[in-house]
């Protein structure tokens, strides 16, 4: 008999470890189907142009070319968008950014498809382009969309001209509060576009069956969002498209909404053949999406004793050519701009500008790393001006216990105080700062930076189905795509724990829109919490049915029964009186009641805005989820000859509620930290006019082994969320939120330079060092 080892809290390896370490894991580019054609895309060379027509003659004449789709194959009535329905499947009528997909070719080989794509002639009428978000909002700027106001929206977006959306959130009376402040800090910050750079480029494979029903595999974060986007943009009934997933070579927001799936499905429909499309790295850089560049005007005021009193923030987000997730990022960034502090008077407002650039959308942190970069530096500046220790100032203003978040939502579990104490202690904060001058060697200066942040996980709906098979083993189906972070493992552990069986007795089904319950997606730090809760509830229904059967089989009351470790149900207090699940499930299948199936679905419904506390306009989601918290300390080394910034040591603590799998949790914290390091120091997409100048890994530098700090400590704090599955909250994004901010504070501590722009490249820091003291970088 297999003995039950507690599944929750165990660092079991990822379930798909064997296939990953043997190279057998199949990603989208590893899938082959009989008779499969290969596709290549044609991209726009212009930032903004009207399409007058296409000449496909030369391309179609190439032997081996089977089909070509252009905007003429699209119906202008159909557009997609999570918040604003402004985006065609691919360019229709106009191109709106360099690199936008204007046509696609299906051919016998990838080489033929690429050769044919170069022969597609598009007749463009070039239009003036809007490339800068602030200029795009000025009167007289060229409009990216001829009539954006007419698009269908799912919320009060305020769309007009190049204003994609606008949001305002207010609490208290900011205007009156400034007069009571003894110290006020005000700056303008700018953050850069960051590429997601999942090492697997985006791709998809579509197969059309004899009835015209389509099966679509793709690199994705949600088979259900793929289905919705393709059907919405092509005007297909959702029943006609089945979406599945291979293993996914990571997603950080880039694979949540559509990339090549709509154009590929249209191409497969036209070719009536199976077609696969895999983007090159450059195409992926240019056409998919990236993190929003932010312009942040922020002002923070405090009293002499360090009490924070007022905050005003204005954001301008470069949304790029299409709305995508931009309205969500704006609203969420404004909601999170205050950070985990009690500031009674806050006015937060901002706009997303349409520009003739690629889409900017969801990326780990969803706007929080940007506003935290500004906010946490202002908190530090206030501490400095008041002569207070930065951690002490934070502690005086920290949200503790159930103190509500900005705009009023109650916080049910909060381990932030513990996070901050942990990193303060682990880093030896006081002593380290006191000794930093002595630690400076040669041209190197040492500084210490701290930052805190929060994140909300729990957005939108998820279901789970738990089925007991004839032999008593269990099949779990949630529809959640494991993008590498390990949700299959975590959800299996939750299911095993709920039924007191070993994780090996649970199999997890691969997401499939035909067979899985709805799951909005692997995004917004939500799967453990949202899908996990559904798994717990579905397992509870299975438990109830097991006990109903067992009560009849053992002739006892349901309430007298208990689940026992290893897949048995027995009479409480009577060790011998028990049944294996196989016996119960066998009876259910062949004699009475029918197979045991438990299911559950739900959606988080606690309101974000309490109208008695706050005024909100244009917030695209009314209910989001529960709060996770983080505190981070970094040791920063600045070379004053080159301006180069390095992080030799870092200590990151995250309150995750409960770690279902601690090793996967620390993996998220470490991975997010290093991604934050890239955001802080090296990563920047640069445009030359409308064209991305560095769409290659040669010219776009993500962190390597060389940038890994010598010490990187991830600490788990467990505050036990009462509504979470076994107390769990979320961890996917939060580890990224405070990284750039903490490093910026460390740079200021080391050399007195305040960073107003990201990344904090050697060049920018050096230029500030060459200016008179107090210059910003």
């Amino acid at each position: 008999m297999s003995s039950f080892i507690q599944a929750v809290g165990a660092s079991i390896p990822q379930l798909d470890s064997d296939e990953k370490v043997t190279g057998r894991a199949q990603y989208i580019a590893d899938l082959w189907r009989p008779g499969m054609l290969h596709a290549a895309i044609v991209q726009s060379p212009h930032a903004h142009a009207r399409i007058r027509g296409y000449d496909l003659q030369a391309a179609l004449a190439l032997p081996g070319v089977r089909a070509i789709v252009t905007g003429d194959d699209l119906d202008a009535a159909h557009r997609m968008g999570a918040f604003i329905k402004d985006e065609p499947a691919f360019a229709k009528g106009k191109v709106r950014y360099v690199g936008e997909i204007v046509a696609a070719v299906a051919a016998d080989t990838e080489a033929i498809a690429r050769a044919a794509a170069r022969l597609v002639r598009v007749d463009y009428e070039v239009l003036p382009a809007a490339l800068d978000p602030e200029l795009a909002l000025q009167p007289g700027a060229p409009w990216v969309h001829d009539d954006a106001a007419s698009y269908v929206k799912v919320f009060d977006a305020g769309t007009q001209g190049n204003v994609c959306s606008r949001t305002t959130l207010s609490e208290g009376d900011v205007a009156a509060a400034w007069a009571q402040c003894d110290v006020v800090v005000e700056r303008r910050y700018q953050t850069q576009a960051q590429a997601h750079l999942s090492l697997e480029p985006c791709g998809a494979l579509a197969e059309v069956d004899a009835q015209g029903r389509i099966t679509l595999w793709s690199a994705n974060q949600s088979v259900f969002r793929v289905q919705a986007n393709v059907c919405e943009s092509l005007g297909l009934p959702m029943t006609r498209l089945r979406c599945q997933t291979p293993r996914v070579g990571a997603g950080f927001g880039n694979k949540m909404e559509a990339h090549v799936q709509p154009v590929l499905v249209r191409l497969a429909m036209k070719a009536r053949r199976t077609v696969r499309l895999i983007l090159s790295r450059e195409e992926d850089f240019e056409t998919v999406r990236a993190r929003h560049p932010f312009v942040i005007r922020m002002k923070t005021g405090a009293k002499r004793d360090g009490t924070l009193l007022a905050r005003e923030v204005e954001l301008v987000l470069d949304g790029g050519a299409y709305g995508d997730d931009s309205p969500g990022v704006l609203g969420y960034a404004l909601l999170m701009n205050v950070g985990p502090y009690n500031i009674p008077n806050v006015h937060a407002h901002g706009q997303v500008a349409y520009t003739n650039k690629m889409r900017f959308g969801a990326f780990r942190g969803f706007g929080v790393p940007q506003v935290t970069f500004a906010s946490e530096q202002q908190i530090d500046e206030i501490a400095l001006q008041l002569g207070l220790d930065p951690i002490e100032l934070r502690r005086r203003n920290l949200k503790t216990g159930n103190a509500p978040w900005f705009c009023g939502q109650q916080v049910a579990s909060n381990g932030l105080t513990q996070c901050l104490a942990m990193v303060e202690h682990a880093s030896g904060w006081q002593a380290a700062r006191a000794a930093r001058a002595q630690r400076a060697q040669g041209d190197k200066r040492i500084g210490y930076g701290v930052a805190t942040s929060a994140h909300i996980g729990g957005l939108l709906a998820s279901g789970a189905i738990v089925r007991m098979l004839e032999d008593g083993s269990v099949l779990l189906n949630t529809g959640a795509v494991d993008i590498g972070q390990g949700s299959n493992t975590v959800l299996t552990q939750i299911c095993a724990e709920a039924l007191k069986i070993a994780p090996e007795q649970v199999a997890i089904a691969s997401p499939d829109t035909d067979g899985s319950p709805y799951n909005w997606g692997t995004t917004a730090s939500r799967v453990t919490y949202v899908a996990g809760r559904s798994v717990v509830q579905a397992a509870a229904e299975v438990e109830k049915k097991i006990k109903q059967h067992a009560s009849e089989m053992l002739e006892c009351a349901v309430d007298d029964l208990e689940l026992r470790a290893g897949g048995r149900v027995g009479v409480k207090g009577v060790p011998g009186r028990e049944l294996p699940f196989a016996a119960v499930s066998g009876r259910a299948h062949w004699a009475a009641g029918g197979p045991i199936i438990g299911s559950h679905s739900w959606v988080f419904d606690q309101k974000t805005v309490d109208p008695k506390r706050a005024v909100a306009t244009g917030l695209p989601f009314s209910q989001i989820g529960i709060f996770s918290f983080t505190a981070l300390v970094v040791e920063v080394e600045v070379d004053i000859l080159t301006g180069k910034v390095r992080v030799p040591r870092a200590w990151s603590a995250v309150d995750v509620g409960r770690a279902i799998n601690p090793q996967l949790v620390t993996g998220q914290i470490e991975g997010a930290f290093v991604q934050g390091l890239g955001f802080a120091l090296t990563e920047e997409m640069v445009w030359d006019g409308g064209k991305l100048a560095n769409p290659t890994l040669m010219d776009y530098k993500i962190p390597t082994f060389a940038e890994l700090p010598e010490v990187l400590k991830a600490y788990i704090v467990e505050s036990h969320e009462p509504t979470g599955p076994f107390g769990a909250k979320s961890v996917g994004e939060i580890g990224m939120n405070a990284v750039a901010a903490a490093i910026a504070n460390g740079v200021a501590d080391a050399v007195g330079v305040r960073a107003e722009r990201l990344p904090m490249s050697g060049e920018r820091i050096l230029q500030a060092l060459l200016q008179p003291a107090g210059a910003a970088a």
């Binding site: 370490v21 199949q26 090492l199 950080f252 790295r281 993008i483 993996g667 991975g671 290659t696």
Partner: protein, 158 residues
């Protein structure tokens, strides 16, 4: 078939143009798909294979240039004690998330352990510095390679 290659200890006859890369031949003709295509420019390292025992970028290696060399992909390295120790250590340490970079990491690390039985963290970082990972933050990979090296040394002395 115009080219003979030694792949994973066997002779493979393939059809390759002068410009075809080893990666294209491995993935598209021989269905050896452990090596991935990430950047096709020699930067990310997910296509790493061993050519005569040294890590090489399959995406930058012309197939014809590999004639006469011993090419090993992850599929052909499963039997080595170092690879088995690495696979076990990567699994136990959680040294991968999405796994897309893992084959290249393992192949590069195997070549390291073949030469350096006790690499310190700096040596591991240097040897793998041409392999990018966007998920793990690298720490658990360094730990896994060192754990594998330790396990191998222990096995050798036992």
């Amino acid at each position: 078939m115009n080219l003979e290659l030694q792949i994973n200890g066997e002779t493979a006859r393939v059809e390759a143009g002068q410009h075809d890369t080893l990666l294209t031949v491995l993935r598209d003709q021989l269905q050896l798909q452990a090596a991935k295509r990430g950047c096709n420019q020699g930067v990310c390292g997910v296509c790493t294979v061993q050519v005569d025992g040294w890590p090489a970028r399959a995406c930058l290696s012309l197939a014809h240039g590999c004639a006469g060399a011993q090419v090993r992909t992850l599929e052909g390295l499963h039997h080595t004690p170092a690879m088995q120790a690495l696979q076990r250590a990567f699994t136990e340490a959680g040294a991968f998330q999405c796994g897309f970079c893992t084959p290249g990491m393992l192949v590069a690390a195997e070549a390291l352990l073949a030469r350096e039985p006790a690499p310190d963290a700096a040596a591991v970082k240097a040897a793998l510095s041409g392999n990018l990972c966007r998920c793990t933050g690298y720490l658990k990979i360094v730990e896994a390679v060192q754990a594998a090296a330790a396990a191998l040394r222990q096995g050798a002395s036992a």
